[in-house]
């Protein structure tokens, strides 16, 4: 089983391990991530303005390439996933944006949102299945109490992202359970970490993140997992924090491919 | 004929008495505007509309004909709109073959509570007919001035 893969800028740099663990885990789970040949940075945030076309084109290019490959497009970073899914939704449902973007792109075949964008976690849930994942686990993470941190980008707006219930998501909890650990459900798992605000207003982000840590710890979490490098960065900056891991690190560990992944 | 601003199409709307005519009344009492080009003929049920009426409308110079009835399953006479739906599918495909484009004919389900829908449908249909321009097929040349 092959998927087109969009790693995004941070996974080439500060979050190399998020990417490496994912590739190794994918192999162990029986699917391959085929990196798009010339992807460009998604921009980190979805351009909200209805008149912003140029800033959406990098995403359109990646989406169209996946379509031409005849593959679904998989992402790992929450931000890339958010941007690609929303631009894809625009290309499918917003005639004005579609026309203008295609006028810029001059593709052989105009792009109209044909590609299916999947987060790595959605692949595990919808294509592999948690039962199957459970079977492949060789080092169950028994006894570990893990809090899932979703953040905003995977979940909202719920109608476009269609990732999970934006107010009471379950995907990461099911994932943690499949790895043999115990998920800790805490209500702040879908609260914002502060996102890009941490660049100029680090204190604001820190306050938000410490509330998240406090809440998760209060319900008994010993560590947090996330899919987003920026969430992890912000969460790590808060005082008295719980350790924060990429979900792929725990996945690779449970699948017994962690050591090999970083070689 | 090229599309121009002045073109005022002739549009005949057949509305069933129980749902769509009432829906049109509701559009009226809610003051939901749609172009005056639409003229409504009341029929007891959408199944009363004989394909002959629609052919006659085009013969006499109509530019578009729309048939509105109760939603499937909600027909006042239980099954009338199902007959209408089947008959119109055949008729419209024949009309298309004869050069009266599919855009000039339409079937819509509008309930008595859907004043907004009635107005939206009519606005949309008129816009469509305006974009298609005058109907030149089927017209009885003897009717021309």
């Amino acid at each position: 089983m092959n998927f087109s893969y969009y790693p995004g800028c941070t996974l080439r740099n500060k979050a190399k391990e998020l990417d490496a663990y994912a590739r190794a885990s994918a192999e162990a789970l029986g699917f391959a991530l085929q990196e798009l040949t010339d992807w460009q940075c998604c921009g980190g945030v979805y351009p909200l303005g209805t008149d912003e076309i140029a800033t959406k084109l990098a995403s359109v290019r990646a989406l169209a390439q996946a379509r031409d490959n005849g593959q679904d497009l998989v992402t790992l970073c929450s931000a890339c996933h958010h941007v690609l899914k929303r631009v894809n939704d625009d290309m499918r449902n917003n005639a004005d944006i579609r026309t203008r973007a295609n006028n810029y792109m001059m593709l052989d075949t105009p792009y109209a949102g044909e590609t299916k964008v999947l987060h790595f976690l959605e692949v595990i849930r919808d294509v592999i299945g948690f039962e199957e994942l459970k079977k492949k686990v060789v080092n169950p993470l028994t006894g570990r109490k893990i809090g899932a941190y979703y953040g905003c980008l995977l979940l909202r707006p719920g109608k476009v992202m269609a990732f999970d219930d934006p107010e009471n998501p379950k995907l990461l909890e099911d994932f943690i359970r499949a790895l043999g650990a115990e998920p800790v459900v805490y209500p702040y798992r879908n609260e914002c970490c502060g996102g890009y605000i941490s660049l100029k207003e680090p204190q604001m982000a820190e306050n938000m993140c410490s509330n998240i840590h406090k809440n998760a710890a209060g319900f008994g979490a010993e560590c947090l997992i996330t899919a987003c490098p920026l969430c992890r960065y912000n969460l790590n900056k808060a005082e008295n924090n719980l350790p924060v891991y990429y979900f792929t690190e725990l996945l690779a560990e449970a699948l017994g491919v962690k050591e090999a992944a970083l070689k | 004929m090229s599309v121009n601003e002045e073109f005022r199409p002739k549009i005949v709307a057949f509305c069933c008495n129980w749902c769509s005519y009432a829906g049109a009344d509701l559009a009226g009492s809610s003051r939901l505007a749609y172009p005056a080009d639409v003229k409504i003929i009341r029929v007891p049920c959408s199944c009363r509309v004989n394909p002959m009426f629609i052919l006659r409308a085009f013969e006499k110079g109509a530019d578009g004909v729309i048939l509105c009835g109760c939603h499937p399953g909600d027909c006042h006479y239980s099954t009338g709109n199902y007959y209408a739906r089947r008959r119109m599918t055949l008729l419209f495909s024949m009309l298309d073959f004869m050069g009266v484009e599919n855009g000039r004919t339409r079937v819509e389900w509008v309930s008595a509570a859907e004043g907004v829908k009635f107005s939206t449908v009519m606005n949309d249909f008129v816009e469509k007919i305006r974009s298609l321009g005058e109907n030149v097929r089927l017209g009885d040349l003897r009717c021309k001035n």
Binding site: P187 | A27, C45, K60
Partner: protein, 662 residues
């Protein structure tokens, strides 16, 4: 040739402000057949009708065209008027120049042109009208009420008191409906059961009322005055004639873990059960999905302990077919599902409940015996937050676009009752608007604030977050202070939007009654005919038509009953004379028309026909006028053009088409 009079109504300024009525008159005069035309301010008024009468006499009119409001509004008025002045009522046609013209157009010239064309079409039609005679149909003097809540019970009682038979069909094992689940009622705070149970007993004991509980309407055919209805009486597995209602079976039943529907899932019940102690009839049913005997074949405890020998495991569903003259829909409401509103943590915490659940918690017969306690740990709450408008007034697809109407008042009631019984409990209400239009309603809400010290905060709640210590962190806003509020609460109560009961769409379809996008049944006229469905013989009672409180429901129930009584009081109904008719010279007896007729109104007879001097026997379609409802399906299906619809004939409709396309 007809002699047609055209009467153009100003409708005050409703028509005349947009349509040049004089121009319509002037141009109508030029139409073939028109011998008289005039305009008047209110054609439907007595003076207007007198003008029509005078013109009929003066000009020997044979047909009338009234250019006015919708025929759905005043066609009957003008037909009566024609009849009064000696004209056949079916010689009248209406040109709808108000709803279909003046009200939706702004440009006077455009509207006038359209009004003239609509008038022309009506004139063209009247030229081809023929006098029609209405027939008669019989009235079955019995009514059916679907739904046994307060709306259905009240309607049934009122009809029965007038001396007509009424059957109530209720799908649950007992009548009583939502009101039986309520603890107290606003704005008087009297006990719901105390005022409802006597009515339930009255209905059960009334000689004219028959109650089918645990039953559903399965099929409806026929029409006003003569409906035939199939009712499925679901197998109770208990013989109602033998059961004494002693309750031993429920006590001894070993399967006790089913969530109680009556207690909104907050408590449990046995597999053999009556929903509540005052249930009518006091005959339990066996829930076959929960019953061990039905699941495994072993058990049979209830049969052993029943002294009366009433348990009957072999009982089957029964179909009862009955005739009715009128049908009342009183199917009521439920609260919406909250799975799309989990920012309020309804599925994450037992201490977040709906208002209807709070009614059960506050009720002495409820899961906590009336003690106000947290459902998670049984502790007494000290801080309670109410959130208004949960799922109401939403334009997204999570909730409902309408105001549920009852929530402001019942929240004030709950707040007051809690503060009254537990003065040490703080109560905070987050509201968007407090809506209290009703007798003594605003005074009631003010009492909650002024006398009972309920803390009302204008603003919504964004999130309810369960905390590790078991409390709930409520994050809301105070819009008047412009401050975000984070407060700890022990319980959160959601004023959940109401929606028509599941299954009402199915019932509407069976009755061919119209229903709106929110699943509320549509009334025949929003102001003037609020308790009638547009389908003749079908009436509406209670929340199935729109959100209502108890006093409104009871008034509407009475109003629906009066309409039913008015119908049942008649021995005969005049039928619609616009029925199908076959031309015997054209009919070839092919049977196509009979196949499409939904009423079985067409039969075939062998007749002697004189076709231009050739006398022969032919098989010819005959329409039964009492059965034909005038849909016209047969007219289009007829390959030889023999079948036509009186009042909407091929020629008349073609004349209208011609007039419009001229």
């Amino acid at each position: 040739m007809q002699r047609i009079g055209v009467f153009v109504c100003h409708c005050g300024s409703n028509i005349a402000a947009t349509v040049d009525v004089h121009k319509v008159v002037e141009l109508a005069r030029l139409e073939p057949g028109v011998v008289h035309a005039e305009d008047y301010q209110y054609m439907c008024s007595e003076a207007g009708q007198a003008k029509i009468g005078a013109a009929i006499k003066e000009h020997q009119l044979t047909g009338l065209v009234v250019c006015s409001c919708s025929p759905r509004m005043h066609e009957a008025t003008f037909r009566k008027c024609a009849q009064k002045y000696g004209l056949n009522p079916y010689m009248v046609e209406i040109a709808n120049i108000r709803e279909h013209c003046s009200w939706i157009h702004k440009d006077m010239q455009e509207a006038t042109e359209k009004a003239v064309i609509l008038a022309r079409a009506a004139i063209a039609k009247v030229n081809l009208n023929t006098p029609l005679q209405a027939g008669e149909s019989r009235v079955t003097k019995r009514a059916l009420v679907i739904g046994g809540g307060i709306a259905g019970i009240q309607t049934a009682l009122d009809i029965a008191d007038a001396g007509y038979e009424v059957d109530i069909v209720e799908k649950t094992p007992s009548i009583g409906g939502r009101m039986s689940q309520l603890d107290k009622t606003f704005p008087t705070l009297d006990c719901s059961a105390c005022i409802l149970t006597p009515k339930m007993v009255d209905a059960a004991g009334h000689e004219k009322i028959k109650i089918y509980t645990y039953s559903e309407v399965e099929k409806v055919s026929g029409f006003v005055g003569d409906f035939t209805v199939d009712i499925r009486k679901k197998a109770r597995s208990v013989d109602a004639d033998k059961c004494t209602g002693c309750g031993v079976c429920q006590e001894k039943c070993p399967s006790k873990k089913t969530l109680s529907e009556f207690n909104r899932g907050l408590g449990t019940r046995s597999a053999i059960y009556t929903p509540f102690a005052q249930a009518i009839p006091n005959v339990p049913v066996i829930d076959r999905d929960a019953c061990i005997k039905f699941k495994t074949g072993k058990c049979g405890v209830c049969e052993k302990v029943c002294q009366a020998g009433a348990i009957n495991y072999a009982q089957q569903d029964e179909i009862i077919t009955e005739k009715y003259g009128a049908i009342v829909v009183a199917t009521g409401f439920d609260t919406i599902k909250l799975d799309k509103y989990d920012e309020y943590a309804y599925s994450q915490s037992k201490d977040v409940i709906t208002s209807l659940e709070l009614e059960r918690v506050m009720n002495a017969a409820g899961p906590t015996k009336g003690h106000l306690e947290r459902l998670s740990d049984g502790k007494a709450p000290k801080e309670i937050v109410f959130i208004q408008c949960v799922g109401s007034r939403c334009s997204d697809d999570r909730g409902k676009p309408y105001c549920s109407k009852i929530c402001c008042m019942y929240t004030a009631k709950h707040a007051m009752l809690i503060r009254d019984k537990y003065p040490d409990v703080n109560v905070t209400v987050f509201y968007i608007d407090v809506r209290t239009p009703g007798k003594n309603f605003d005074e009631f809400y003010r009492r909650a604030v002024e006398e009972y010290g309920v803390n009302y905060i204008k603003g919504q709640v964004g999130k309810v977050a369960p905390q590790p210590d078991g409390s709930l962190l409520v994050q809301g806003v105070d819009l008047l202070d412009n401050k975000q509020i984070k407060m700890k609460a022990d319980m959160v109560v959601l004023a959940t939007a109401i929606e028509p009961n599941q299954g009402v769409r199915n019932i509407a379809t069976m009755l061919t009654a119209s229903i709106d996008t929110n699943n509320f049944l549509t009334e025949a006229h929003p102001k003037l005919r609020p308790v009638e469905s547009p389908t003749a013989g079908v009436f509406l009672s209670g929340v199935c038509q729109g959100p209502k409180d108890i006093p409104e429901t009871v008034s509407q129930a009475g109003a629906a009953a009066v309409k039913v009584i008015g119908l049942l009081a008649k021995d005969k109904l005049t039928t619609n004379p616009c029925t199908a008719k076959a031309d015997e010279l054209l009919c070839n007896g092919c049977s196509n028309c009979a196949k499409v007729c939904p009423y079985g109104a067409i039969t075939y007879e062998t007749c002697l026909v004189n076709d231009h001097g050739i006398r022969e026997e032919r098989r010819i379609a005959k329409v039964n006028n009492a059965l034909c409802q005038g849909c016209g399906a047969c007219t289009v299906t007829c390959p030889s053009g023999a079948m036509d619809l009186q009042g909407f004939s091929n020629k008349q409709l073609l004349a209208e088409v011609d007039a419009i396309c001229r």
